[in-house]
């Protein structure tokens, strides 16, 4: 301990640098737009349409992610099978994929001249450059955040709890719905918030796969980029909205987590 007197101050300095670096751009967004100008800028039709579209596409995407992701994560957490770790890696891959690559991949897979493009168009399904395409892009980039968190939450449940439920005669489906999901609840919520934050901020995959058209595919991040060149105030105002929503999500996760820790202690 006494041999390294510089270490304490050094880690504190590193922390100060990290915090300043990470918070300054966020603070600047709010300092640059006064609240009055912020509200006025949001009164612009393209901003409102972008907010509505983001709300709509993110909600649909989150519904899909939760409905399919929850049982899928449960399967990953409770089943052992050959190639399980490969499956987990594949599911997590979009986490580290650059968004533009995700967009190119989606075009190559389900675009009009992609792998499944012909089959989809025979069914009358068109995804590229449509609102449905935005939902697909959001789901692709955001779902791994939920899957990963949900799997961890299900894995953390005491196996004895699930065992007890089954011993008492509950079917596996009932055990999943009545025991596993409530027990994993805080973790599922946290995963949902992370996925929601990622979906709200999605830019690259959406632009490449779904394009940018006001009211149809131009979500808030795309509208921010579009406004940057002509309406910097408008871009800042929309950015401020995203920052506020993201901060609220993060705070929500912390509260849920805090409650979880508290609950554990009380128990």
């Amino acid at each position: 301990m006494s041999g390294r007197p510089w270490f304490g101050p050094a880690i504190v300095a590193a922390l100060v640098v990290a915090v300043a670096f990470l918070t300054l751009p966020v603070i600047a967004i709010f300092l640059d737009v006064g609240p009055g100008r912020l509200v006025a800028s949001l009164d612009d039709p393209s901003s409102r349409e972008a907010l509505l579209l983001s709300l709509k596409t993110t909600s649909i995407s989150m519904a899909v992610i939760v409905l399919v992701g929850t049982p899928a994560a449960y399967a990953l957490a409770t089943r052992t099978f050959r190639g399980r770790s490969l499956v987990i890696t594949l599911v997590e891959l979009p986490l580290v994929l650059p968004p533009a690559v995700a967009g190119i991949g989606l075009l190559a897979a389900v675009g009009p001249s992609g792998l499944l493009g012909g089959a989809l168009s025979d069914l009358g399904i068109e995804l590229a450059l449509t609102t449905a395409g935005v939902v697909v892009a959001l789901t692709f980039v955001a779902s791994p955040f939920y899957l990963r968190q949900a799997q961890a939450a299900f894995t953390a449940i005491d196996p004895a709890l699930l065992e007890a439920s089954r011993t008492l005669g509950a079917s596996e489906a009932r055990t999943f719905a009545r025991v596993a999901v409530p027990a994993a609840g805080p973790g599922l919520l946290a995963g949902g918030a992370l996925a929601l934050g990622r979906a709200l901020g999605e830019f690259g995959a959406t632009l490449v796969f779904a394009g940018s058209f006001q009211g149809i595919t131009q979500t808030v991040p795309l509208a921010i980029y579009d406004k940057f060149s002509t309406d910097f105030d408008g871009a800042l105002a929309l950015s401020a909205v995203l920052v506020a929503v993201s901060a609220a999500l993060l705070l929500g996760v912390k509260l849920v987590r805090g409650g979880e820790a508290l609950g554990a202690r009380v128990r």
Binding site: G211, F213, T217
Partner: protein, 256 residues
């Protein structure tokens, strides 16, 4: 413990790397680093001619001209700004952010369609049912030229075409990408973009009376780190190595 003593070294190395990312001009012969913000449509031509520039190391940054101009207005200072129109350089000049701009090239707006299995054979087809059209956004030069063309069409034709727009891309490369990926049936791009698509796109020329004048303007940014080298680069755009590369890519010479 050994790890602990290693970290200041690692931090110093990281800082040195970061410094290296700046435009520091290390040691040896003075070879300035020049930052050039250029319109997306100039990408192939300028990348080709700037790689072996004997006088300076050229760092190229491509995007929609309007985005680059917005960066300059926010205080970003590249050495040279080259746009796909003359309007933006002139506006920046009037605002005192750019030295007097020059016109260094011209281009042609065309209707581009996928080379194979195109559903659009002429401008008349673009307003047809279920045609997917992609254009530049209103602020980026290619999108503004596109709107100039549409504005000259009869109202009903104009309306039919506008109704088929599926995406308004932030720069011309976005339009090209949607076409080459088969996501759209037609798009308005520059003739040089079709040339650079290695045969994946086909250009349909617009009728002469609709064709907008597409002229490229560039200037030295006021307060640039390397004004001398920047002026030389600008000169090269007009009649040097980069001018040759531009002609080769299909750009026209500046009007005299």
């Amino acid at each position: 413990m050994r790890l602990l003593t290693a970290w200041p070294v690692a931090a110093a190395a990281a800082l040195a790397l970061l410094a290296g990312c700046g435009d520091g001009d290390g040691s040896g012969a003075r070879r300035p680093t020049l930052v050039v913000s250029a319109a997306a449509s100039l990408q192939e031509a300028l990348t080709a001619c700037s790689r072996d520039d004997p006088k300076a190391r050229i760092r190229l940054s491509f995007a929609g001209s309007d985005e680059l101009a917005a960066q300059i207005r926010q205080g970003v200072k590249p050495d040279v700004f080259a746009a796909a129109n003359t309007k933006l350089p002139q506006a920046l000049h009037r605002e005192g952010r750019l030295q007097r701009p020059v016109v260094f090239a011209t281009n042609e707006l065309v209707l581009a369609v996928p080379a194979d299995g195109a559903r659009v054979a002429s401008l008349d087809d673009v307003g047809g049912p279920a045609v997917k059209l992609v254009v530049g956004s209103a602020d980026v030069p290619v999108g503004a030229y596109t709107r100039d063309v549409l504005d000259r069409l009869p109202a009903d034709e104009q309306q039919a075409i506008r109704a088929n727009v599926r995406s308004e891309e932030p720069d011309v490369k976005g339009v090209v990408g949607k076409l080459t990926q088969g996501a759209a049936d037609a798009g308005f791009v520059y003739a040089t973009d079709v040339e650079a698509s290695s045969g994946r796109l086909r250009a349909i020329a617009l009728p002469a009376q609709l064709r907008p004048v597409v002229a490229y303007g560039a200037g030295v940014v006021r307060g640039a780190d390397e004004p001398g080298a920047a002026a030389e680069y600008l000169h090269g755009l007009v009649r040097g190595g980069c001018a040759d590369a531009l002609r080769q890519a299909g750009f026209g010479p500046p009007p005299r």
